[in-house]
Symmetry: C2
Subunit: 352 residues, 2 copies
């Protein structure tokens, strides 16, 4: 169920990519983060002139039994309503995917609603929402394994070489906070945030509930045990998607807090998945900065987003495109006849 | 020569834009910086459904007499060589402008080189580079006025409703640092940075030279006097472009340290230009963060860029497009049939 993910250890390719960037008509290092991004994409795709092809934005949706405890500002019905909105093209991620030419697929990983089949919707429902983690494990071991396998199969069936992670699930900031707290040992009050918009009292209630859930599952310390205990189906399926995409050496663009929690689980199973991950942004959800530090991840954007859906991944996408285009299309000092830093200029003082 | 720039004081439009965003299918405020961006663009363009049209990226290029003092890591000839590179399509900004459908115009504001006329190049040379600011004013008052007027005329002749500022000029981080120091009173050692790549000794030399230049022009305290004293032609012309674009209510996308220095000068002449400015990024050049604070500006990106050319403005452009598209294309709660935060959900506990 869990594939081996090997390191990207082609040092010759890494050096070649860096040398290619250093030869471009610009001061050394002056493209900042885009330079490391170009090198990383090249190393993932195993190409000195990498091309991103048919990028796939996949939104994994599911419901959470824990939502019955009042840990979200929105009712669970919003999950299926938003799935309809994604498919109708009216959600933020629908708009952004259109803007950037990203193929959008919504996966029903376990929404508490029966969807009519249609294009753009992949039905892989593990169950009608997870069980309430306050009273038992969110899912069984078998359901957890099935979700991870389904995530792998979803990616396997998709074309292209880049996967952008998105999700929808009322209550899923709670599951992500529980995973963060359990897998990193951080206190739950630092991991839990306002989600879609809890007020002060709502947040206090959420923290109390999550503390009880952690106590209820004190023995669920291994990554898969924690995933089964806390859920959700969309996070488990995303973990599978991350493992499969890493195995196939696709570029993985990680969205916000929930998507990062799936990467956290996957990286505890196979640490080398992180070499394939590009972290799109640091969200405004309280635990995300903490999660990114735990993953030693440097996000590209910090725009105060806290929407999920893959919206942050979609917003960061043009930066990945830019990194590849700059590598492919910029002239070198030689080809453009531009003087290098060390070239003397007649009639002026030396610069060093 | 300096037009009056009036405030954008349509509070009804501002409220209408905010209400429209708040009605979209997403938690309140969850699109972070993009929400304020959409409101700002709407207010600049005077439209509740703003559309960005025919964006113009203009690279103002000129040489600096002060470069003879060895304040740059590159020789002055790189200015004209890079202009050729822009026009040939091989520079970073050429690649990024192509990626994002930005019309690219290079303006010879005062390069020490004679260019053959050709498409994409606008010849508005004030002189073959400024004079050495260490020995006298970089330009005369008349030259400064001519540069500002030329910048206004350049913008007037361009179609569209958005202007992205770019520049090229070996030595121009020195001019920008001098303007920052003089117009904000910050010490020169905090304003000056490594530019295109000075080493420690080079930076120390640059700071010494700039301190002498400031002393040489101790009386040049008014914005236009400082601009004439320190240069450069491209900065003066950009200041004129900013004033004209603000007058015409174009969206102005400000690139890095040098472009910001032109905005600083323009804003000291007409403070309301800032209401039309979107700051693309915070560059790695030492003084830029200080400059942005002086302008009370929140940049969109922080990617460690220090290239200039308008590259940061081009990289931020898709975020402006996203802001407008989200406003235009996202469904409302009503149109999509999605439950709002306050809607009760049968059978679950209330969330507040």
């Amino acid at each position: 169920m869990i594939p081996d993910i090997s390191p990207l250890d082609d040092t010759a390719l890494h050096s070649a990519l860096q040398a290619r960037i250093d030869g471009k008509t610009k001061p050394l290092g002056s493209l900042g983060r885009l330079e490391a991004l170009a090198v990383q994409i090249g190393c993932i795709l195993g190409a000195s002139s990498p091309r991103l092809a048919q990028p796939q934005l996949v939104v994994f949706a599911a419901d959470h039994g824990l939502a019955a405890q009042g840990i979200s500002a929105y009712p669970s019905d919003v999950t299926w309503q938003m799935v309809e909105n994604f498919l109708a093209g009216g959600a933020a991620v629908s708009v952004l995917a259109r803007q950037h030419g990203l193929a959008l697929t919504v996966v029903d990983a376990g929404v508490r609603h029966d969807f009519a089949p249609r294009p753009g919707l992949t039905l892989r429902k593990i169950g009608p929402g997870t069980a309430d983690a306050l009273t038992g494990p969110a899912m069984s071991e078998a359901q957890c394994a099935a979700a991870i396998s389904a995530g792998r199969e979803v990616v396997q069936a998709l074309p292209g070489n880049a996967l952008l992670l998105g999700e929808m699930g009322i209550g899923n900031t709670s599951a992500a906070a529980l995973l963060l707290a359990r897998l990193t040992g951080q206190p739950i009050e630092l991991c839990a945030g306002r989600g879609t918009g809890l007020d002060e009292a709502g947040l206090a209630r959420k923290v109390r509930v999550l503390r009880d859930v952690l106590a209820r599952h004190a023995l669920a310390t291994a990554p898969l045990a924690a995933l089964a205990a806390f859920g959700g189906f969309e996070i488990a399926m995303m973990s599978g998607a991350v493992l499969q995409a890493a195995l196939e050496r696709r570029v993985i663009v990680v969205d916000g807090f929930i998507a990062s929690s799936a990467v956290l689980v996957a990286s505890r199973l196979q640490p080398e998945v992180l070499s394939r991950c590009i972290f799109a942004h640091c969200s405004d959800e309280a635990g995300h900065a903490l999660m990114l530090r735990a993953l030693d991840a440097q996000p590209l954007l910090t725009l105060g987003l806290r929407l999920g859906e893959g919206s942050g991944a979609a917003l960061a996408w043009p930066l990945l495109e830019s990194a590849c285009r700059l590598l492919a299309e910029m002239a070198s000092f030689e080809s453009a006849g531009v003087s290098r830093q060390s070239d003397p200029e007649p009639g002026t003082a030396p610069t060093r």
